[in-house]
Subunit: 405 residues, 2 copies
């Protein structure tokens, strides 16, 4: 256990992941504890974006859809990018595609599952990430499929024969669900789980295949560092994808989009979950950002995120705060409830320590292991303690006003 | 009528829009007749993209959602970008939002309309842009709302009480529908029309409000030059938007997304049609590209596109080809059927004249009036004629192979 700045620095010197920090170009004077909300840009993502804009769009113009003059071939970039995400979640390369947003992908996947016969009821746990509930609610309003709320920890027998959406890592507590146990439970009750990997992919050691998980969605702009609002991904087990019919059946998910045939015929596998034309600039940044993970063990990332978070928890306690404790595996973030959380986070940001705030009272700090050092986390603890001891957060400038992101 | 290169150059000298060419940086040796498929980058879009990446993402990090250090405020960029599109289609500034793709937006809008009570049947004309049909088909499969095909030109009484999707400018023929007449007809039969403006917005003088059109979707990457796969837009008349419930009800369309409330409550107006987090890199490029239209009369753009297309038609006929004739208004492109169309387009591209090909036999050329000159169109006619006279397109290298974009 690290109990001094010197020990933190020693941990950095021994950190097998420390070289990865060089792939990022973080602004001076900032300790970035919000890579769980928006990852910072890897240098290669910024370079790629310039190349995509200047060489592929400006130079190649329409020709870049088929690849032009050494540029990327846009038409299958979504699949190639999906193949880079696959090893991060333990999926086969052909079972992941990048497209749309998490919201749209959840809609497509849940709609496909309730259309596949048999399962009709939609389920979500109380306290889940709200937008996942909004999307299921929308699907319910459109189709009449009933949406019900499950108390967390409830046996899945209540959701027998239904479709449940569940976060792997909870967006507030960071508690990590036991994927394999839930899958066994779900399959015993003929329920299907759509895993929302948004707060886990890129930081946790996930193995959907080993756990028996068949359906998942997730986010490209958090631990994957794909850029603001980066496109999302969707995973469907190759053994079942061809049985699913997703309703936003646009031309990019067509078996032969450029035949311009009158009738829809879905592409084989998860590719059928693509809908419209991908936003190539955003997709390209994500595609380049993912190259950072090449050769990196996800278990090592999870382990370092845990160690960084553990260090922060100790330091937050020293500052008189009570971080939410998690039994078992924890995602890459740590949340601390405080009635003045908004103001404390603002005061921290003013001192260069960037975290975020989730209404009504939660301060949230992310420990992205790709670029954060133990010394930085130690330092953030000093800043936090100073703010709490001096009550600097009471300054007028940190009072809550306007929307919070 | 222009019958010589000199006259083409004179037309350029007198062109009130000629200064706009300087806003683009087209590759040397290229005559770009495909701005209808992918607009070239305005210089300011490339600059903005660099600023968004380097200043806002890298420098501002998560803070840029609320605007940081002079950068754009991301959280309402989709609405501000929509407000820039509004004058291009004759809508009120608050009635347009940029989000997702055309396919996803059509799904949301059609779903909202069949959910709004009364109207249930979905209609599309035979020969419409295929992906619009695929999307309605998907909505039909999910909800059971019947999808039927209407013969073009059929009276809308067949679609009484239904929801019809219709392109303003046809993707093949470029024929422009009489929006006001169709709206009168539709309203007489209690039908709702969703206008697909993809092949018209940014080049035609569109006035949805004057025509009584209430619902439209459209594309950001064609005549708007927003970048490859740029996000799409959605227009809903402010008088009816609050009566519509779209099913992909993600947090970005929530009245108060950062309250993280359990239950969905739609934002007021067209903003409720947003779903997930916007892809900011792509959205920013579009937002900057739209500034080109400031102070430009859409009628002047339509007029120049028409004149450029007319000139090309004359030249194509001289080359022995038979462009599709359009009575009345025409969109920004001209299509030419030919059994060897694919090879002819490839031969043209090899000579620097970039058009595209639409299966099974259509060569398609776009005349984006923001950057094309009469002299370029004249020159493209020379290239086309040479290729046809010498039958260069028969060369093996131009034979069709692989996918066509």
């Amino acid at each position: 256990m690290i109990v001094s700045r010197e020990q933190a620095e020693r941990a950095d010197a021994q950190d097998p992941l420390r070289a990865l920090r060089g792939a990022f170009d973080l602004p001076p004077g900032v300790i970035y504890l919000d890579g769980n909300s928006l990852g910072p840009p890897p240098r290669q993502a910024l370079e790629r974006l310039r190349r995509t804009a200047d060489h592929e769009w400006k130079g190649g113009l329409i020709r870049s859809w088929n690849g032009h003059d050494g540029g990327e071939r846009w038409i299958d970039l979504a699949s190639r990018c999906g193949a880079k995400i696959a090893p991060l979640i333990g999926a086969d390369a052909g079972d992941v595609i990048v497209c749309d947003s998490v919201s749209v992908n959840l809609f497509k996947l849940a709609a496909a599952l309730i259309s596949a016969g048999g399962r009709r009821a939609l389920w979500i746990e109380e306290g889940e990430f709200p937008t996942d509930g909004y999307i299921l609610d929308g699907l319910s309003r459109l189709t009449g499929a009933p949406l019900s709320r499950l108390e967390p920890g409830t046996d899945l027998s209540h959701a027998a024969g239904g479709v449940l959406v569940k976060s792997l890592a909870h967006y507030k507590t960071a508690a990590v669900a036991d994927m394999a146990a839930h899958e066994r439970n779900a399959q015993a009750h003929d329920a299907a789980i759509i895993w929302d990997l948004s707060h886990g992919a890129g930081v946790l050691d996930i193995n959907v295949k080993a756990a028996g998980a068949k359906y998942a969605i997730g986010c490209g702009y958090k631990y994957m560092n794909g850029g603001p609002g980066a496109p999302a991904f969707i995973y469907v087990d190759g053994a079942v994808a061809n049985h699913l019919d997703q309703p936003i059946s646009g031309w990019m998910g067509h078996a032969d989009p450029f035949a311009f045939g009158r009738d829809y015929a879905p592409a084989s596998g998860v590719a059928r979950f693509a809908a419209g034309t991908p936003q190539i600039l955003s997709l390209s940044a994500l595609d380049a950002a993912l190259d950072i993970f090449r050769g990196v063990e996800m278990a090592a990332l999870e382990q370092k995120a845990r160690a960084l978070g553990d260090l922060f928890i100790v330091r937050a306690r020293e500052a008189g705060l009570s971080p939410i404790a998690v039994n078992g595996r924890r995602g890459g973030h740590v949340s601390i409830p405080h009635p003045n959380g908004y103001s404390i986070v603002q005061a921290l940001i003013a001192k260069g320590v960037i975290g975020d705030f989730r209404a009504p009272d939660l301060m949230r700090f992310g420990f992205s292991p790709l670029f954060l050092s133990y010394a930085e986390v130690w330092e953030s603890g000093d800043v936090l303690r100073a703010i709490m001891e001096t009550e600097q957060w009471r300054a007028d400038e940190y009072a809550q006003a306007g929307p919070v992101t």
